[in-house]
């Protein structure tokens, strides 16, 4: 790993990450270029990862990291600025109240234990009944869900909530520890699979992310499960238009 010195371009990049939290690879490349231009440092477009490694080498002792991961929605790579510790101090975070955090955890429970990686808004509203901290009113819950989407912890589509890319990447260690029995990995990319297709063969039942399905079966006439070789009965999604991370 490169142990370059931090310069203002790195600091500018880190500050931008603090502000936005999550960025896709293409956006990160643009940001990288702009930060270098602004501080008149040499910009090597193909050195984004080593640029980030330099920042990470300084962040690591501070319980922070810019972590790379894949989006379940579009299969693209994303970078997320994450916290890596849980201490008395990190629990002083004031973005959400205790009962709001409880509801967020319940929402995660619902999503992770569901078949399709989703939870409907009504299911979430209903689980306020079982809250142990101060109960949220329905309208407060709705506002909270909006805020969670706005802060990029959840994604919403027609009343159905899923874990956002930011959430999956930052919460990875937590999900691994808390839900190890329930969570399956994608057979192709070996990341958590929440929104995915499942092999119909009950003896097999592997999961594959939709974008991974698209990539894996692209151009194959008769799709077969990569594990059990049974026919893959699901609709094969379009290959995500032109991996934005690859070029440009």
């Amino acid at each position: 790993m490169s142990q370059q010195r931090m310069e203002d371009s790195h600091r500018r990049f880190l500050q931008a990450m603090m502000t936005i939290g999550v960025i896709d690879r293409q956006g990160a490349k643009t940001l990288h270029r702009r930060c270098c231009e602004e501080h008149k440092t040499q910009h090597s477009p193909d050195r984004l990862d080593s640029f980030i490694d330099t920042i990470n080498s300084k962040l690591q002792p501070l319980f922070m990291q810019i972590r790379k991961g894949m989006s379940e929605d579009d299969g693209n790579q994303y970078y997320v600025l994450v916290n890596t510790a849980e201490t008395d101090v990190t629990r002083m975070s004031s973005d959400y109240a205790d009962n709001e955090l409880e509801l967020f955890r319940k929402t995660m429970d619902l999503i992770i234990s569901s078949e399709n990686g989703k939870a409907s808004s009504t299911d979430i509203l209903n689980c306020t009944d079982t809250m142990t901290s101060k109960k949220l009113k329905k309208i407060e819950t709705e506002q909270l869900l909006k805020r969670l989407v706005c802060d990029k912890w959840l994604s919403e589509n027609q009343g159905e909530y899923t874990l956002s890319t930011r959430c999956i990447i930052e919460m990875e260690p937590y999900i691994r520890a808390m839900y190890q029995d329930q969570v399956k990995m994608c057979h192709i990319c070996h990341n958590f699979a929440f929104q995915c297709q499942i092999c119909d063969n009950p003896a097999c039942g592997i999961k594959i992310h939709n974008p991974c399905v698209a990539r894996y079966f692209k151009g194959r006439v008769e799709p077969r499960c990569p594990a059990c070789d049974d026919f893959w009965p699901h609709e094969i999604p379009e290959f995500p238009q032109h991996q934005s991370s690859s070029k440009r």
Binding site: R11, P61, L62, T90
Partner: protein
Amino acid sequence: MAQRKRLSGAQTSSQAKRPSGSQAAPEDEDDQTFTLPSSSQVLRGMESLAPGQLEQKTAEVVQYFLVKDQKKFAIRRADIVKHVLKEQRNIYPEVMRRAAATFQQVFGLKLVEIEQKNHLYILINSLEPSAAAPPSSSTNPKTGLLFVVLGLIFMKGGVARENVVWSTLKKLRIDPREKHEEFGDVRKLLTEEFVRQRYLEYIRIPHTDPVEFEFGWGQRAEYEVSKPRILSFMGELHQQDPQTWSQQYREAHSSSSSTPSPSPSQR
């Protein structure tokens, strides 16, 4: 008083046990349990540390600042000691020095003590503001509101009476009696949140009957907000050369406004 001052380093038992959230607590009192240790105490403290512990405490202090800065309230020394340093309070000066260096080196941020009486700290940016880097969609609309109020105060010579502020905001479709769709309860925002964040001071005008208030710049604004830039944006808005406001121009360019004199009162 003199006796209490001696309660430095070693005696931890006397530390106030107060729930972390209580902000109404008298600030001084808490702080009296802690006075800056002498350099020999610091040295002794450092020697007794296990290797790596200084770095560990520094990282924790950095983390504490980042967490507490989420709300942009000023951070009290007494709280840093209470929540992070605890028994190692005697290495406080060294830890703070290192934390400040870390903020500068890694984040491009500056740790500033805005009030010496209560030992309050804030973080400000040491990089120049830039339109390029962070996507503009993520700007906080409250910055616009702050500009209007701080700008008005500055142009009015350092204080603006409350009714002037409200009547100006009213023209901008903000009515303190109604919930604003962007800012919610604006009266609360101005007189409580911005005050706690130390962007604004909200001061009772003496000898007024009925009671009246005025707004001034808070300590955070003095460090975080650039008067020359405020004035030049004013010029842009009015399509007027900023120098034509000669008093304000002198004020903005005389006090090197990024480092104001740390006098607790401006008035």
